[in-house]
């Protein structure tokens, strides 16, 4: 009997409520005091196709999906055929034999437990909508696992309006009862509430965490054009505009979005946009404008595999160099790569502070795997939040000995920033090279001085970032091998480390969170004593390796790369790490 350790995959056509069902399963486990992780996988279409959601459950902290599946909830035949080989021996398949004719030779696995549940029949009996088959399957799964159905019911009631909720509660109950009646004691897995049940933890996606971080940071203006996988931020923010005095606007393009954000920040409001690679391309010119005008900006770039449209609903890390170099000319910027939902929240707050303190654009680089997967985290701590608006002048009137100069030369390069409308100040800003007052110039000396002014900020910024935990080390200081990564590979790498530690391999992992400016000192400190270096990335050319080469003149010993649109599975990753050690 395996208790409280299971990987469940629910799959079906798009529009069948797959993600919601998977989420509800995971949440029911979380509320029972278990640890969960949830990842979705879907194609770029509205109806049909093959969607799935993996909910992994454990008693200890988990950071990614597993390599294998223990229980498959199949709402269509394709799901079974697609995932049957990922099932462990003794794994279960919940399906509706009345709808899915499964031939033995198609399945070609005689070590699986097939649990036919009349999903459609139960929905028909309840006179419900066919989409409710997913809830029946959820109930059946709970029945097989002998879990507390009330916890699932709580989730259903939180999700649906009362009438629909009760229908779903009934559907779950009938699925549960059917499974208990026909398949009692048959499945080798069990789920049980633990002592941690009712402990207050939150379960959310990276997109939601970024949105929450923005709201927490006092963002009052969010402008975006929908683009997978960043659309989740827009969906998160839109219904909250009234509660948090925000304006959330869907623009005609990403070009409009970045320009509106620049306008809002120029006016004195914290503002943000989010997009994916294609949209970020369109924003590039605006990005440079924010840099030249020294207008703060916060942009979340959620990567998917390219080039071009690539795999629009999958994940990748091919845009790191692009984020660091996008737009013409040279200017300082910050590129932050959170690695999990918790960092998505706190680093977004940091992004706003850095953008305003240094009056520069800040890019939060994420990917589909991070922003659309659900992770568990302790409720965010308001005591950890610090708001720093830098040299923003918030008084109603400007009183200076001289006329206000938007680009006044200062020791650290940052000029006091008045909001237009401030009495006695004329705020003139320009994307052309300009003098201290913001008047256009092509004077060679002034041009040099202004470029130097902007880059002075970089020196201060590099020092400042030391307070922002630009890198994190996991595992022992001294190790036989050091893994390096950034962004969403954090989860699979941490999982792989667990597996490797079971084999008594001494490995540590350096997560690089700030990629521009590159935290040279922090990385150097670790790499100096590293015996063997392994970079793990979801791209083809190992862009992190090239950054390390560029900044530290060090060559990475081994690169473990995957660029098929899918995140690393921990077992596979640990195997590949072992191979290079």
């Amino acid at each position: 009997m395996i208790v409280n350790k299971i990987s469940v995959l629910i799959g079906g056509e798009a529009g069948a409520g797959i993600t919601r069902s998977g989420f509800l399963f995971a949440k029911a486990c979380l509320r029972g005091g278990l640890h969960v992780f949830g990842a979705n996988d879907y194609q770029s279409l509205i109806r049909g196709g093959r969607n799935f959601y993996i909910a992994r459950v454990d008693t200890e902290e988990i950071y990614s999906q597993a390599d294998t599946i223990d229980l498959l909830l199949a709402l269509n035949k394709e799901t079974i055929l697609l995932h049957k080989d990922e099932l462990v021996p003794g794994g279960g398949v919940v399906y509706d034999a009345e709808e899915i004719a499964l031939k033995a030779e198609e399945l070609n696995r005689d070590d699986l437990k097939l649990y036919s549940i009349p999903l459609r029949g139960i929905v028909k009996e309840l006179e419900g909508d066919l989409i409710m088959r997913n809830t029946v399957a959820l109930g059946a799964a709970m029945g097989l696992l002998d879990y507390d159905l009330d916890i699932l019911n709580g989730g259903l009631r939180d999700t649906f309006k009362p009438k629909v909720a009760e229908l779903n509660v009934n559907a779950a109950k009938m699925g549960y009862d059917y499974a208990q009646k026909h398949y009692a004691e048959s499945f080798a897995y069990r789920l049980k509430k633990t002592g941690a049940a009712g402990k207050r933890k939150i379960f959310l996606t990276g997109n939601e965490a970024v949105g929450l971080g923005a709201i927490q940071a006092g963002c009052k203006f969010y402008a975006a054009y929908p683009m997978t996988p960043a659309t989740g931020v827009l969906h998160f923010m839109a219904p909250l505009d009234r509660e948090y005095d925000m304006i959330v606007i869907q623009t005609e393009s990403e070009i409009a979005a970045i320009n509106m954000v620049a306008g809002a920040f120029f006016a004195g409001t914290r503002a943000m946009t989010a997009t994916s690679g294609g949209g970020f391309c369109l924003m590039s010119e605006g990005l440079g404008m924010t840099a030249m005008t020294e207008t703060p900006a916060v942009i979340m770039l959620a990567q998917r595999p390219g080039p071009s449209t690539g795999l629009p609903t999958y994940s990748g890390q091919g845009d790191l160099r692009f984020a660091i170099h996008a737009s013409q000319g040279e200017f300082p910027r910050v590129v932050i790569a959170p690695g999990d939902v918790e960092e998505c929240f706190y680093k977004t707050v940091d992004a706003f502070n850095l953008a305003e303190k240094f009056q520069i654009p800040v890019i939060i680089i994420t990917d589909k795997y991070l922003v659309e997967s659900h992770g568990v985290v302790e409720p965010f701590d308001p005591n950890r939040i610090r708001i720093d608006r830098g040299l923003l002048l918030t008084e109603d009137e400007y009183v200076g000995e001289e006329e206000y100069k938007r680009y006044k030369f200062t020791d650290e390069g940052v000029s006091p920033r008045a909001m237009p409308g401030m009495k006695g100040a004329v705020v003139r800003t320009s994307a052309n090279e300009h003098d201290e007052h913001g008047y256009t110039t092509d004077d060679p000396e002034l041009t040099t001085k202004m470029m130097d002014k902007r880059f002075k900020k970089l020196d201060v910024l590099i020092k400042e970032l030391e307070n922002y935990e630009p890198t994190k080390l996991y595992g022992p200081e001294e190790a036989d091998a050091t893994i390096l990564g950034w962004g969403s590979t954090k989860g699979p790498i941490k999982e792989a480390m667990k597996l490797l530690s079971e084999e008594e391999l001494k490995i540590n992992y350096l997560q690089i969170i700030y990629l521009s400016p590159f935290p040279v000192a922090n990385v150097q400190r670790i790499l100096k004593s590293a015996k063997k270096t392994v970079v793990v990335e979801n791209n083809k050319t190992s862009q992190l390796s090239s950054l390390i080469r560029e900044h530290l003149l060090m060559t990475i010993d081994h690169k473990i790369l995957q660029y098929n649109g899918r995140p690393f599975n921990p077992g596979e990753l640990s195997q590949r790490i072992k191979e290079v050690l």
Partner: protein, 285 residues
């Protein structure tokens, strides 16, 4: 209240002598004085092209942005601080070529801003190429055999997009233009003025004389600017007689009017500190 002296800047004006932009500059300054603004109450936004330099020549708040993006920039500013009077200046290539995608959307939103397009029917600063409003057959360096597509009709486009204030001015009649700008700024909603602005260097066709012979004032011919259909008919008038003045005007709810929670509130005044996200966290447990 500003004076002409207050609005002066030390920047050297680099427009060609006789450029139509001077008429717009003077007309705009005159408007600011007439409406009794303070320098800090107004924000002007410009794009790229000769027109864009206007931010250097009027001593009010200004954002000299990039090519084609005057409207989203101005929209962002106005939405978060409705206390500011925001006036966008764009060129014909800036607005009708590079930034065309924003035009209809800014009109649809009806944000309370004014857009003044310096329409010289040619690309000036890049030394003479065709634009969306160049006449068919117009010969330039990029169209040595004549511009092939017909000219775009911005007035008609604005009208069919349900723009709430549509006007056309002529830089050669500064007093009349200033009157239009006054009306446009007073208008509650998106106000659009296309301004014939002769380029004395690169537009050999549409010159001051060419316009002077043709333009006439709508208000002198009993034009009813509340009649969209009639305004649309007028917008197609081109040739021997070309109308200037207010084509159409109506009051409609602005974008901000529909944001009941922020109506009239300057988001710039809200603190970034101490936002309570506890209810959101509770909903995620």
């Amino acid at each position: 209240m500003v004076t002409l002296e207050d609005l002066k800047t030390p920047a050297k004006n680099t427009w060609c002598p006789g450029c139509g932009n001077f008429g717009i500059l003077m007309g705009f300054k005159r408007t600011l004085i007439q409406l009794g603004f303070e320098r800090d109450q107004v924000v002007i936004v410009s794009g790229i092209g000769c027109h864009g330099k206007i931010v250097n020549y009027v001593n009010v708040n200004g954002f000299h942005g990039i090519h084609g993006r005057v409207l989203p920039l101005a929209t962002g500013i106005k939405l978060v601080n409705p206390n500011l009077t925001v006036v966008g200046f764009a060129g014909d290539a800036d607005c009708y070529d590079e930034g065309w995608g924003h035009f209809s959307h800014a009109i649809r939103r009806n944000v309370d801003i004014t857009l003044i397009v310096h329409n010289n029917m040619v690309l000036g600063l890049t030394t003479g190429q065709t634009t969306a409003t160049s006449q068919k057959g117009f010969k330039t360096k990029s169209t040595p055999f004549g511009s092939i597509p017909p000219m775009l009709n911005p007035i008609a486009h604005a009208l069919v997009s349900n723009c709430t204030f549509v006007a056309r001015g002529f830089a050669g009649d500064m007093m009349h233009l200033s009157g239009l700008i006054v009306e446009a700024i007073r208008h509650r909603g998106f106000a659009f003025i296309d301004v014939f602005q002769p380029c004395v260097t690169f537009n050999y066709l549409n010159t001051y004389d060419w316009f002077k012979k043709r333009v006439y004032k709508l208000e002198e011919e009993e034009h009813d600017y509340t009649d969209r259909q009639h305004a649309l008919e007028k917008s197609y008038e081109w040739g021997d007689r070309i109308p200037i003045g207010i084509f159409y005007k109506e009051e409609k709810p602005t974008y901000s009017d529909s944001l009941s929670h922020v109506k009239g509130m300057a988001l710039t005044k809200l603190p970034a500190e101490n936002v309570d996200i506890t209810p959101l966290l509770e909903s995620m447990m």
